[in-house]
Symmetry: C2
Subunit: 427 residues, 2 copies
Amino acid sequence: MAVQTIATSGTSAVDLGPAAALSCRECGHRVPLGPVFACEECFGPLEIAYDFSAYDTEELRKRIEDGPANIWRYAPLLPVPADVAGKPNINPGWTKLVKADNLARELGVTGGLYVKDDSGNPTHSFKDRVVAQALEAARAFGFTTLSCSSTGNLAGAVGAAAARAGLRSCVFIPHDLEQGKVVMAAVYGGELVGIEGNYDDVNRFCSELIGDPAGEGWGFVNVNLRPYYAEGSKTLAYEICEQLGWRLPDQIVVPIASGSQLTKIDKGLRELIELGLVEDRPYKIFGAQAEGCSPVSTAYKAGHDVVRPQKPDTIAKSLAIGNPADGPYVLDIARRTGGAVEDVTDEQVVAAIKLLARTEGIFAETAGGVTVGVTRKLIESGALDPAKTTVVLNTGDGLKTLDAVAGTGLTATIRPNLDSFREAGLA
Amino acid sequence: MAVQTIATSGTSAVDLGPAAALSCRECGHRVPLGPVFACEECFGPLEIAYDFSAYDTEELRKRIEDGPANIWRYAPLLPVPADVAGKPNINPGWTKLVKADNLARELGVTGGLYVKDDSGNPTHSFKDRVVAQALEAARAFGFTTLSCSSTGNLAGAVGAAAARAGLRSCVFIPHDLEQGKVVMAAVYGGELVGIEGNYDDVNRFCSELIGDPAGEGWGFVNVNLRPYYAEGSKTLAYEICEQLGWRLPDQIVVPIASGSQLTKIDKGLRELIELGLVEDRPYKIFGAQAEGCSPVSTAYKAGHDVVRPQKPDTIAKSLAIGNPADGPYVLDIARRTGGAVEDVTDEQVVAAIKLLARTEGIFAETAGGVTVGVTRKLIESGALDPAKTTVVLNTGDGLKTLDAVAGTGLTATIRPNLDSFREAGLA
């Protein structure tokens, strides 16, 4: 039993369950829950502080196990009201943890290899998890428009969540995105606004809009709702441990875009330990980047504490953030847990996508190619121990990045008769 | 409690759980379980006959409820060995039954409207359900190659399932398919053979191959394994009823391609009644087609018992079977249950895809547009009672038929400043 308190000060009128306050990651300054994301004292990032003091370990475990087959089974550990499962949302999560024995054989992993396959989410990426949290915060703060800047997965997740919740959505994207991505974002019927400029211009405009009266009532999931939004990634850690039978994995390989997901997975694992839901033993977190956008990997290998921005050039577009906000925290976690940060080339990404599809029947987006490719590289270098239980994240769906494997095609073309079939050597 | 027997004769050495024999749908002739699909007496279609006599209703219900969150919770009712859940397969099913209150408001449904969203399956269509059964039959009969003829969803489902099971796969498609569909089918690394000809040529070639020594050891999921394959659709009926709290829906709207899915949903509902798992009360099954391929709907409206083949011309390509094998059985079921068969135009399909996305955040493939569009039409005509509990099937994912909504796009394009934002009327 673990009755414990993550100490809180700061009070708030909104009901977001166990979320007690916002706390600065840098200086610890606390403010009441609200749509803010930067510390007024030091401009550090704000994150959620919880009050878990009322929980009895075994009661909590049973409550989780009896909960719905989606992220809301973990509502007691998230910044959401207790009745969240009954509200209209797209109920992401509880995706498959696939025991990947074929892939393990190919990579020489003997300690158990698992793929956490988040392509099973409603809009087929892990973004549904984070948007679902932001949606509850938006409702709590009375926002009527759900918004974001995006170049892909996030736009669809926001559009779908807002549609079902009955909120207006307005998503900003660079005006010259590929038509396929535009269609996926537009189909949910919200406003989809093209900005004449690049993704940086889109982001800068969104920050401007938040500070303007025109942005009143707007919740930007990845800006003014970011502290809530980011917590959604904790559910990946919760699910992995519960699906392993309430056990920590020895090693976990996580993709790095902003780095937020990796830091929140670490936070989730530590919470499970503190709550007594899993046995406290060492785990290692590994970060995965594409070589064409590897600011964190580069800093890690150079032994730096700061991350120097890069100009992205990789097919792994969902990870192509050249100046990752949580990069320094990722470095801390990789070093503290005994993990590492590694990167792979685009060619290795494509090979890894095909390897995962061929061995396990899972068609991953490029980000999944990055984690599987990095896993292979880490095993070869000895950084990752093949005799330990290892979990690799696939955060999105191959159908969204078809271009990456466009070279894949017919193995033979024949005439519709048996002679032609035999000539092709298929018999 | 319902201890009951679906009488069996015929014996078999293979272990496919409660599957006892193959029985001719037309003349009732029974043969042992094997890779055959047509009756040797009358050429009628063979289907699985079960022995459910050992089941106690409440024990069975508990066994199901305690089972895994996939179709194998229903293993006691399927032609699969008891240990199926432990074998490598892609574990489809237990997809979301979404309470569609927003859509209900738009359509005027007051009795409860639900969307059974099968886009959540591993390869994002209901085909994973049927392929999973065929895979177990293939293993039982010692086949080493899994095969099919396909123009889309089925190819991916077979490729993924074979990859994970460690079987060879060889899928036959028309050689001139769109590149995107080829990539989706090829990524799993099996043989993908283009046939110089149309889909009929592909099918004819597959039948030829089955009869040739070159086809020895080949299991064609939708030909010589069809009786097993088809049973996978029963799981849609089981899940819908269990997710409704072990209750039959009053009305269910099902898409029609070959018609097999609709007939197996009816079979699944009747089994639940016979086993005592749901209360026996009337239900109505409605069939949905696209106007451009509406042989069953046309026969239904004309009062015919036979279905006259059509040449398909519709964007709903996954339903474009002009000569549906199970058409007559679909007519029987629609008439027996008090349902109907209806069709919608391609424009109505597109409008329905957008309606579902806008109201519920579900992006359906064209087949889902057909069922939602037909539901609207059936309500308007009075054939479907809006005061009754209604379930609409979405059998696939919008990402696979992006062309259908390619016209969807940006609602505005602006410069990255607030003046431009205001000018566009977005404030």
